[in-house]
Point group: C2
DNA sequence: TAACAAGTTGACCGCCCGGTCCGTTTGGCT
DNA sequence: AGCCAAACGGACCGGGCGGTCAACTTGTTA
């Protein structure tokens, strides 16, 4: 049998796999990366052993969920890459990004970075797409010049994190903080920044 | 024996208590609120049982550390309350706040909120002082009008959090993101915010 | 339909954690 | 010095975690 030739999953296995991924996505989103495998399995309606048959490690499961998110965001960024209003495109990207990954914050940045080959690749593609969005927005004069793409990547999820501390937050309060942060990215009234970008 | 009349600690107990608090502060700052009690005890050079003699619960220990931070910040805010330049005072407060509590983020906002009476009181005093700083800065025209004190409280620690995701971050990279966020609080170029303050 | 590989399962393992307990040590008072 | 309450410390406990395994079930293929 060749390396790349993967035999198709059995029907029940494929069904279990997809409900497992869905359950893991919900559970990680709600409880963070420390959600227990047993809870995820229960939520997916499968046994704990089955989880480890599909993913050798909890970290691999998390990486699979994160990979989905990354590819989702990369597709979004690609779709916005040629928008007419580059500034609005960047804002829309940050808005959608924050909205989609409620709570599953930047863990995809460092977590399992070297563990998973595909994940590292997808992350690079996402980063490149974001950087392109930022540079177009800068060229259009919608974003200050002393900002790097990495700045946007880092600030992207701050709204969700910030909101996670208010007890009964309305579900779109994060938009308020995205608004504030995005205003900080605008050229109007920008002060020189005290430290170079990473 | 009266209620309020607390007998003084024995000399060794007082010594242990303070080194315990110091170790806990360092350990919580480095590893987050999930730092283990055993590690803290080892770092303080005392037995695990001694930790629980001083604080009945790990959460109480964390609350004590957090209380220190809160009172520290409240004193800072009080010192800046009458500064000449109200805008600079607010910026300095956020700068110092972010700098002092490297990584021990906003947990003090919700964690152990109702557990500890003193902590809740100190938190209210800190909040009031921050709100006063913000209102003075607004009156001076240094901060946009549609911002509440709570916004500043929530955004205060975002720089630290954001920076915690970059692998080998220089120790004052957070200043960059504080700069961006603070620019977002300025009146110049502010767009209307999409959601009311909490 | 018969037979087998692929898939499933929950009991089980080792580990680490917060918290308890009691035998031991030690500082303060007379 | 001698006493004792206060303080100490580490073995210990119960619980939950990630991960394993061998017995069992099921989809697929001929």
């Amino acid at each position: 049998m060749r390396e790349g030739a993967e035999r198709p999953l059995r029907a029940d296995a494929a069904r279990n796999r997809s409900s497992l991924l869905a359950a893991a996505a919900r559970e990680f989103a709600e409880r963070g990366p420390d959600a227990s495998v047993a809870d995820i399995a229960r939520r997916a309606g499968i046994g704990k052993g089955t989880v480890f048959r599909h993913f050798p490690t909890k970290e691999d499961l998390l990486a699979a969920v994160v990979l989905d998110r990354i590819e989702d965001l990369a597709a979004l960024a690609a779709r916005l890459a040629n928008a007419d209003d580059a500034g609005a495109a960047l804002l829309e990207f940050m808005d959608e990004a924050a909205g989609r990954q409620q709570q599953l914050d930047l863990s995809f940045l460092r977590e399992s970075g070297e563990v998973n080959e595909r994940l590292a690749g997808a992350r690079e593609r996402l980063f490149a797409a974001i950087i392109a969005l930022v540079e177009r927005a800068q060229a259009a004069g919608a974003v200050r010049g002393d900002i790097s793409g990495m700045d946007v990547i880092l600030l992207m999820c701050a709204p969700n994190h910030v909101v996670s501390f208010v007890p009964d937050a309305p579900p779109d309060l994060w938009r308020r903080y995205l608004g504030i942060i995005f205003d900080g990215l605008r050229p109007e009234g920008a002060r020189p920044l005290p430290h170079p970008a990473p």
